[in-house]
């Protein structure tokens, strides 16, 4: 899935959830599902399992660009404020140093760049993940909260037909799913 599709998909409303006890079983289930052409998969894990991303086809988001623009904004603002204050608005002879003291201005400018980069990255995260999300459909499932403790879940948001969904349940069970849960309407 591209970033755009991820964004457009909005909060996931999984129509099928499958619970696994170990990450290995979850991964083998994902492989099996992908072999049967179920591509729209997501997982819920208590920690970052690195093998998940390549299987789900996520691509690296353009965080560097966003942060870079934020940093550049911070840089321009910081230098600009210093220039305005000490060169244009009210220049003061401080010990004979030039009014436009570029080496001195660099330091606060550096800090401004950092603030811009950090805040823009943080805000971007909130936007991407649509935080805060106090409720999601998965929360209705009893025991789902173990996804942050010690259980690994797979979610598939949509199916072409009921037969596809049942087939997916079949695959999950054959690969070690402790249980499968159907969510939402038909």
């Amino acid at each position: 899935m591209t970033d755009l599709q991820l964004l457009m998909a909005g909060p996931s409303a999984s129509r099928l959830l499958a619970e696994f006890q170990t990450p290995e079983e979850m991964l083998s289930a994902i492989d099996a599902l992908k072999r049967e052409s179920y591509h729209d998969i997501e997982t819920f894990t208590p920690y970052d399992v690195p093998d998940v991303d390549p299987r789900l086809g996520y691509r690296r988001p353009k965080l560097g660009l966003i942060s870079g623009i934020g940093g550049l904004t911070g840089l321009i603002l910081a230098y600009g404020i210093q220039w305005w204050a000490n060169v244009y608005s009210y220049p003061v002879n401080a010990g004979g140093r030039p009014a436009h003291a570029a080496p001195a201005f660099i330091l606060a400018t550096f800090e401004g760049t950092i603030v811009g980069a950090a805040v823009s990255a943080f805000v971007a995260l909130f936007v991407w993940l649509r935080y805060p999300r106090p409720w999601a459909p998965e929360d209705e499932v009893e025991g789902f909260e173990r996804s942050t403790i010690d259980r690994f879940w797979i979610g598939i948001p949509s199916f072409a037909s009921e037969r596809d969904r049942d087939h997916a349940i079949d695959i999950a069970s054959r690969n070690g799913a402790l249980r499968t849960v159907k969510l939402g309407g038909a």
């Binding site: 690195p50 991303d53 390549p54 996520y58 690296r60 560097g64 010990g95 004979g96 140093r97 080496p103 001195a104 660099i106 330091l107």
Partner: protein, 348 residues
């Protein structure tokens, strides 16, 4: 100020020597740091670093010309050559800046470096004693490199001093040695796109990918570190504006020498920073090789910038001896490194 021919020759020789020496010592420090940190990514580059370090005894011998020419090269050797307004200050340093002690110190530094270089060469990388040797070696090289830079380069302007000078030369040396390793390892290679998904942490990448990524990150980091030390010295002296300190910088920023200032900073900081900041860029062979070459060139300029404006403070001055010196010293060192590395692998 009239500069005699032999003084010019020795100055050229000195700049070339420091440029090369700092790279060799940088490689030495790299090896020792890798032993202490257990860095696995360095294993592929270690043989190259050891080859560079293997040239150390030869580099030590190459110090002879300027050690013998101390009385010609260094102004403090003859107080009459010092301008009268700072003569007192320099005279007070006589306990340190006198020819016999100077040469004795120089010999001591060279001996220490040769000993450590041979220890590194002769011990296997998995030898457990290497950790202890590395820990002590880093301290020894750190101190000797610092004092060598104070003695051999900083005392060219004996009324001036900077406490961070040793760190500056160290930073330049480590950056240049990393650049050399990147250049030698990856030159001539086309860019291969990483066969591993960039989302994964480096641990899962094959050895060569990890080596590339780590080398790219280290060059990026040390370029920033070098610029940080450069700026740290500059801002303190610029803003303090003390007459005893400022002339060193005014000859490097207010005369024709300013061009070199710009080139050194561009080549060792701005270009590597922009080239290596991208995630994939750090991992591309051609980018690493070209950035390495750029840094090496700027490193030579940087050392030229350290030495020459102290000899010719009022205007930019370059001579054929400069080019000759760098080719001579650099070429001989490369030859020595190659020559010493050949037979070892055949010892089964």
């Amino acid at each position: 100020m009239i500069v005699g021919f032999w003084q010019q020759v020795l100055a050229s020789y000195l700049f070339a020597y420091i440029a090369v020496l700092s790279i060799v010592l940088g490689a030495m420090l790299q090896i020792m740091i890798s032993h202490l940190s257990g860095a696995r990514w360095f294993e592929g580059l270690r043989p190259l670093a050891v080859r560079i370090v293997g040239a150390m005894p030869f580099v030590a011998i190459l110090a002879l010309p300027f050690l013998l020419g101390v009385h010609l090269l260094y102004p403090w050797a003859d107080l009459a050559r010092i301008p009268p307004d700072v003569r007192d200050v320099v005279a007070r340093k006589h306990a340190w800046l006198n020819i016999p002690f100077f040469i004795a110190r120089g010999v001591a530094y060279l001996v220490a470096w040769c000993v450590i270089a041979e220890l590194i060469r002769r011990r296997d990388e998995n030898d457990p004693s290497m950790r202890r040797i590395s820990a002590i070696g880093i301290i020894v090289v750190g101190l000797t490199l610092t004092f060598a830079s104070f003695d051999w380069v900083m005392s060219l302007e004996p009324s001036w001093y900077s406490t961070v000078y040793g760190v500056y030369v160290f930073a330049g040396g480590i950056l240049a040695s990393l650049a050399l390793m990147a250049f030698v390892t990856y030159r001539g290679m086309p860019n291969r796109s990483s066969s591993v998904d960039p989302n994964l942490p480096d641990l899962r990448a094959p050895e060569s990918e990890r080596q590339k990524a780590s080398l790219g990150k280290l060059i990026f980091t040390f370029a920033i570190f070098w610029a940080y030390i450069w700026f740290s010295q500059y801002i303190v002296i610029w803003i303090g504006n003390l007459p005893s300190e400022v002339p060193w910088y005014s000859s490097r920023t207010h005369t024709g020498w300013v061009a070199l200032t710009v080139i050194a900073v561009l080549g060792q900081f701005a270009i590597p920073f922009l080239a290596l900041i991208g995630y994939t860029a750090k991992r591309r062979e051609r980018v690493l090789a070209l950035t390495g070459a750029c840094i090496l060139f700027a490193h030579v300029i940087d050392n030229f910038w350290l030495v020459m404006p102290s000899v010719f403070p009022t205007s930019f001055h370059v001579s054929w001896t400069d080019a000759a010196a760098i080719l001579l010293v650099g070429g001989l060192t490369i030859y020595a490194a190659r020559a010493r590395s050949a037979p070892r692998s055949s010892i089964a």
